[in-house]
């Protein structure tokens, strides 16, 4: 247990009745970095945040947050963290300013009034500050929620889907603030469903699926795990199957067909695939071509590839079910979350 990790968890488990929400969460977040926890609905992201913020008690495993044991030193942990949950949790009957002052007092902030005014200003809320928060827009309430978590600069800030359902203005503002926080030494752990958000903010990403971390790394490292995304556009539907066969052979992945555009695409499992290679193979097979492209993978590709259910990795047979299984997983996972 070194002090260089702001969050270090080993084998955290949590059950809610029949639902095994977390099945051994191992997480190491270096100090002063932003860690993105990425995963489908019901993967256990919110449960992980609940445990790491002392709201829930783990059934097994241990964790240290800001240098303190989560269970034995819960009070010390609470002094060092800020939490913005998935739902806004400010008091709608109080004004924005009254909310911040209250949280400032509870956090033993010196001069809560000044700090509140500063944060209201930073989040663009000064104008509405003296109206009851219940009359505010959703985006403004989210911003106030985040401001409340920063009232005493936390060592570790937990953000559970901070921008879900937000307008672009609020989203950009929150992104800016999060990026600025690490400069002040705060470690940020954020859960998100938005790959763009993780790509932009996170130094490291932990991919969570079914209650476990399945993959970790920087966005670039994760993308390197997945080959390029190849796409071939042919002039007519007749050539589509032929093009798909070539792509299947070269990429080692089941191609997806787009019948409207007469296009076929696949995320390559072979990182050495190049455009000349692709064109030559297609030409040899006599496939007429309109367009060929090979672009770097997005986190979407990573997400789809790495959160697939694959207990036994038999590269060739699994591919057909990949896409359908993906949508299937999200559905049942959503139900799991609702049940939880």
């Amino acid at each position: 247990m070194t002090s260089t990790y702001a969050v270090l968890s080993e084998g955290l488990e949590k059950r809610f009745g029949q639902v095994h929400a977390l099945r051994g969460l191992d997480l190491a977040v270096a100090e002063g970095t932003v860690c993105g926890i990425l995963g489908p609905n019901g993967a256990g992201k919110t449960t992980a945040v609940g445990l790491l913020t002392t709201l829930l008690r783990p059934d097994a495993g241990s964790a240290r947050v800001a240098g303190h044991d989560l269970v034995r030193e819960a009070a010390a942990v609470r002094r060092r963290i800020g939490v913005t949950g998935q739902d806004t949790s400010i008091d709608g009957d109080l004004t924005g300013r009254q909310n911040l002052r209250l949280f400032g007092r509870l956090h033993r902030v010196r001069g809560p009034a000044g700090r509140s005014a500063e944060l209201l200003d930073r989040f663009g809320l000064t104008e509405a500050a003296d109206r009851p928060a219940s009359t505010w827009s959703g985006g403004m309430r989210r911003r106030l929620d985040l401001a409340a978590s920063l009232i005493r600069r936390p060592d570790v800030l937990f953000l559970d889907e901070p921008t879900t359902g937000l307008d672009p203005v609020s989203r950009t503002l929150i992104w800016d603030v999060v990026r600025g926080l690490t400069d002040e030494g705060t470690t940020v752990l954020l859960t998100t469903q938005y790959l763009e958000e993780a790509d932009r903010l996170a130094d490291d990403i932990a991919l969570v699926d079914r209650g476990r971390v399945t993959q970790t790394g920087s966005p670039a490292q994760l993308k390197a795990l997945v080959g390029a995304h190849a796409e071939v556009v042919v002039p007519d539907a007749g050539a589509l199957a032929k093009a798909a066969a070539v792509l299947d052979r070269l990429t080692g992945a089941q191609p997806t067909l787009d019948h409207e555009r007469n296009a076929v695409g696949a995320v390559s499992k072979d990182p050495t695939l190049t455009i000349p290679l692709l064109v030559r193979a297609l030409d040899t097979a006599g496939v007429p071509l309109l367009d060929v492209s090979l672009r770097p993978p997005t986190l979407d590709d990573v997400f789809l590839r790495l959160t697939e259910p694959a207990p036994e990795k038999t590269e060739t047979t699994e591919t057909t079910t990949e896409q359908t299984a993906q949508t299937g997983t999200t559905g049942t996972a959503g139900e799991r979350e609702r049940a939880a």
């Binding site: 913020t53 002392t54 709201l55 829930l56 008690r57 009070a75 609470r78 002094r79 963290i81 939490v83 949950g85 739902d87 806004t88 949790s89 400010i90 008091d91 709608g92 009957d93 109080l94 004004t95 009254q98 209250l102 949280f103 007092r105 509870l106 956090h107 033993r108 009851p132 409340a148």
Partner: protein, 260 residues
């Protein structure tokens, strides 16, 4: 302990701000007991064998206690609302003394109750109710009333933290309206059939209502009543101690543990 005092004061401040932001709510909660005083006192009172004015003198302390028992509903609704809105969870992640949140809520409710009692008492005086005993005893009566309210609020907070849902808390809280009906809040228990009289006299509301009537000098302690009513002041204090002894630890525990 000083942490509890500091955090409790901050939480009390929060609740008082809510009250100040919504003064209408305080007035609204007092319209019910006042209209009940007028309806019971004049409409029902006219059909009773006792003279109207005597019944109204009997009714004012009873309604004060019945309203105080509404602390169950108020405590429950507020705690459930905070939990439902995620405010309770946020407090749980703060370095705040575990008892401070429910304590602040109960203390603020006490302030609101004390303020809300004033217009009711004024209407009571207008319809003929008087303090017929000593001033000191009357002060004791109000203190006992507030203590009872405090105990009821803690019970409500515990139930609200358990329910976690405003709507369910509202429904369940509405049922507490029935509690004073089976007590001596509105009627003397002496006229009830034997077993029903026993049940009504073991209702804490009966003990406190009888104590208030005794302290205000409005009505004598009824003869042959069950122990808490026969010794109303001691009975009331015991009831309050029991309620607080049970529900303060339960509410604090429920708050601290949440859904873990």
């Amino acid at each position: 302990m000083s942490m509890l005092a500091y955090d409790g004061t901050a939480m009390l401040g929060r609740q008082l701000l809510r009250l100040r932001n919504n003064p209408g709510l305080l007035i609204l909660t007092q319209t019910m007991p006042i209209s009940m005083l007028l309806f019971f006192g004049y409409v029902f009172g006219s059909a009773l064998a006792v003279p109207g004015e005597a019944y109204r003198s009997f009714l004012v302390p009873g309604l004060l206690v019945a309203t105080a028992s509404g602390g169950i509903m108020a405590g429950m609704f507020q705690a459930a609302q905070d939990t439902h809105r995620g405010v309770t969870d946020r407090f749980r992640t703060l370095p705040v003394s575990r008892a401070a949140v429910p304590l602040g809520q109960a203390a603020a409710d006490l302030v609101a109750t004390a303020l809300g009692t004033v217009p009711f008492v004024l209407v009571g005086l207008a319809v003929g109710w008087r303090v017929e005993g000593s001033a000191l005893a009357a002060v004791g009566a109000f203190a006992l009333l507030l203590l009872f309210r405090f105990a009821c609020t803690w019970a409500g907070i515990h139930l609200g933290l358990l329910t976690r849902n405003e709507e369910a808390a509202g429904q369940l809280g509405g049922a507490t309206f029935l509690l004073p009906l089976l007590s001596s809040a509105y009627i003397p228990t002496s006229g009830l059939p034997g077993w029903l009289r026993t049940v009504a006299e073991w209702n804490p509301i009966s003990a406190v209502a009888t104590a208030l009537r005794d302290l205000f000098g409005n009505a004598p302690v009824p003869a042959g009543a069950a122990w808490p009513v026969a010794h109303p002041v001691a009975g009331s204090l015991v009831w309050c101690a029991v309620l607080l002894g049970v529900f303060v630890p339960l509410a604090v525990r429920q708050y601290a543990h949440g859904e873990r």
